[in-house]
């Protein structure tokens, strides 16, 4: 493991992008910061710019209008980084499959620009905050 990957595992700062979600995953992500779950005690922090982030939390199906913005945000994140697909929509378009304005699941959109992207999946509609914490722990232990 090189030092970049090693340092990625400590206190990951995350940037949150919504690419066409119904908001559920997004409130659950904010819930992670509030007293009951409080992930800031592990050094996990939501940041306001992708350039400060180690990980990208993506929620939502990936609508046609959001595709290029998602790629732009991904481009701005320092590599290596981990992309978390939060929720059924981001993992595989979920209930919106086949919609005329849906461009595809998030992993497909990101793999088109970076085939080697590190992508983790947290399924659920919405995943419970505990599931998100567990997903982050599992992904960081795997890399």
């Amino acid at each position: 493991m090189n030092w970049k990957m090693w340092s990625l595992k400590k206190s990951p700062w995350v940037f949150h992008v919504n690419t066409g979600a119904c908001n559920n995953c997004d409130i659950e992500i904010v819930n992670l910061l509030t007293p009951k779950f409080d992930v800031e005690r592990f050094g996990i922090k939501l940041v306001g710019s992708p350039r400060h982030a180690d990980a990208l939390l993506v929620t939502g199906v990936g609508t046609r209008q959001a595709v290029i913005r998602l790629r732009e945000v991904y481009r701005q994140i320092p590599k290596p980084c981990v992309v978390f697909c939060i929720g059924a929509c981001a993992c595989g378009t979920g209930i919106f499959e086949g919609g005329y304005h849906v461009a595809g699941p998030v992993d497909k959109i990101i793999r088109e620009v970076d085939p080697n992207a590190i992508i983790a999946y947290v399924p659920g509609c919405p995943p419970k905050p505990e599931a998100m914490i567990s997903g982050v722990v599992k992904a960081l232990s795997a890399i």
């Binding site: 979600a21 119904c22 908001n23 904010v30 509030t34 007293p35 609508t63 046609r64 913005r69 005329y100």
Partner: protein
């Protein structure tokens, strides 16, 4: 006006109509040709006057239909004006936006999705479809459905330019403050551009589409009993209200009455949803003005509500509990004492929080007189929910057109006349206390019996359903042809009418007040996470954190000016 007077009033415009129908006691349909639609709409909105709800565009076999939905809140009537456009080649109709700004967005949406031209519309730019969407392709036209599948993948690498359909007529004076675009909102993820003169906002332009998932199109491919799961995902926070409005529309068509216990369960779930949504808003409003303590406390207090919802329905959000003819999950008897215990605790905490917010001189100084939406503007933009009630308009679907068992319970509609951010905060906090009151009564009165009746077939017909979501009225229109799927399903989320009112409330405000003014209609929280101020050359001067800092600094400055509160230890 009573029922007869309303009918007499509507009869005054009879010569412009082809028919007047009354499918149900409180639903009236007026039919007319496209040429007369403008005059009839003007009459309905200005003379009767009715509240504009939304318009629906429909591709019928031999013509296009534009349905204008109005509400007469004093009697709980829903009135639909159906205008028929016979020319299928070049469908066109007169725009009603010049006298009814609240219709501006929906006409743009119908133009995008069905290709109907609205003559004399002030600004018929693309609204809901992506920048790279091919021109002349209309996704909700019946014949287009197959073609669109073939057209994907499109050129997603196309960058929006000043020539793209959504932007080509923007005439904002510079410098421009850009807000967005990532912003999780129900259907409407937005990109704001604010023209600023020094610190003052002079104009505002909005672009949506980022979150457009085509739910109305997908809904037409699902069966009637699958649709509630789809519409609960229109918005995660309104995931009880949307399915409720939908099933009420379908129950209208099928003539089904759910068992009484199901109606009580619906009320309880919906009021829990209102509590957790309003608490969420209060917390975020606190965050936006630099009171993170309020943020943490409010979100801590809403957790027990989510736990109760999980215990009843199996999920913290997206309950999927409503179905045509009743509810899926019942409230178990052993949960009832727990609900009563938790809402007692919640009531005390909310009272404490309300008192803390309402008595704080700094919050008064920071929020009073900020982002005022006057009553006249609120009517013109057809806003609903706490946004309307904060401007002194006492509308609430739960009282005006009572559904479920709201009519049997004792509660009141909260209004505040001022129209500023503070008024909207007060409305929401007091509504939480009303919701607690409603739940307590409903739980105590909960009758025994089944929670669902079986519904086999949905006959041909059409139905309108509306419900009071935390953000305002959510409206669903469903048309059935006797098959097992809806042929048209129109959804109007409350923010679709509340968001355009920014044009009335933001202009003339300071930049440091924009975050809280935008947040005041509760579009959602993350809009302000990605703000940037752009100067004349278009380079970014400030990020969101800078803008949030400006907002917090103003609070801190006021705090200093006002001095410490005159509290004594005995007060606690």
């Amino acid at each position: 006006m009573n029922q007869q007077e309303l009918k007499d009033k509507l009869a005054e415009i009879k010569d412009k109509l082809t028919d007047i129908q009354q499918p149900l006691d409180d639903r009236i349909s007026l039919l007319c040709e496209a040429e007369n639609a403008y005059a009839v709409n003007k009459f309905l909105f200005e003379e009767v006057p009715l509240r504009f709800v939304i318009a629906t565009g429909i591709d019928s076999d031999d013509c296009f239909e534009v349905l204008y939905h109005y509400a007469y809140d004093q009697l709980g009537f829903l009135i639909t004006l159906k205008a028929f456009i016979r020319d299928r080649e070049n469908p066109a109709i007169e725009s009603i936006a010049p006298f009814l700004p609240g219709a501006e967005w929906i006409e743009r949406e119908i133009h995008d999705l069905l290709g109907i031209d609205f003559k004399n519309h002030p600004d018929l730019r693309r609204l809901i479809l992506a920048d790279d969407w091919p021109e002349g392709v209309y996704p909700l036209r019946k014949k287009m459905a197959g073609e669109i599948a073939k057209q994907w993948p499109c050129e997603t690498s196309v960058r929006p330019t000043t020539e793209s359909p959504a932007r080509r007529t923007v005439k904002l004076s510079k410098p421009v403050l850009a807000v967005g675009p990532f912003h999780p909102l129900q259907e409407e993820m937005e990109f704001f551009q604010l023209s600023v003169d020094g610190e003052i906002v002079t104009d505002i332009d909005m672009r949506i589409s980022y979150n457009h998932r085509g739910i109305e199109g997908i809904s037409e491919t699902l069966q009637f009993d699958q649709v509630p799961f789809l519409v609960s995902r229109v918005c995660g926070i309104c995931s009880a209200s949307h399915p409720l409005a939908y099933v009420q529309a379908v129950e209208d068509i099928a003539g089904v009455t759910p068992p009484e216990r199901a109606l009580y369960v619906r009320v309880i779930i919906n009021e829990f949803e209102r509590i957790h949504s309003h608490m969420l808003w209060v917390g975020l409003a606190g965050h936006f003005i630099g009171y993170d303590t309020v943020f943490m406390w409010a979100w801590k207090y809403r957790e027990p509500v989510l736990d109760l919802l999980e215990e009843i329905t199996g999920n913290r959000n997206n309950y999927g509990n409503v179905k045509v003819g009743g509810c899926r999950e019942d409230i178990p008897d052993e949960t009832v004492p727990k609900i009563l215990q938790e809402i007692d605790k919640l009531e005390k905490k909310t009272e404490m929080l309300t008192k803390a917010v309402l008595d704080d001189p700094i919050i008064h100084a920071r929020l009073k007189g900020i982002g005022v939406l006057t009553k006249e503007d609120a009517i013109k933009y057809a806003v609903t929910g706490p946004t309307a009630r904060g401007s002194g308009i006492a509308i609430d679907v739960r009282r005006d057109d009572p559904y479920a068992v709201y009519a049997d319970l004792d509660w009141k509609v909260i209004t505040q006349p001022e129209g500023d951010v503070f008024a909207k905060a007060v409305v929401r906090l007091l509504e939480v206390l009303e919701a607690v009151k409603i739940i307590r009564q409903a739980v105590k009165k909960l009758p025994k019996g089944p929670v669902a009746v079986e519904v086999k077939e949905i006959p041909p017909g059409e139905g309108c359903g509306h419900a009071e979501a935390p953000r305002g009225e959510t409206f669903h229109y469903v048309r059935s042809d006797g098959g097992n799927r809806p042929v048209r399903h129109k959804i109007r989320a409350p923010s679709f009418v509340n968001v355009p009112s920014f044009r009335a409330s933001c202009i003339g405000e300071h930049i440091s007040d924009v975050t809280i003014t935008l947040a005041a209609v509760d579009p959602c929280y993350s809009c302000t996470e990605r703000l940037a101020i752009v100067d004349r050359q278009g380079s970014i001067l400030h990020g969101y954190e800078e803008l949030h800092r400006l907002s917090c600094e103003k609070t801190a400055r006021l705090k200093k000016e006002i001095g410490p509160p005159e509290w004594k230890l005995e007060d606690f």
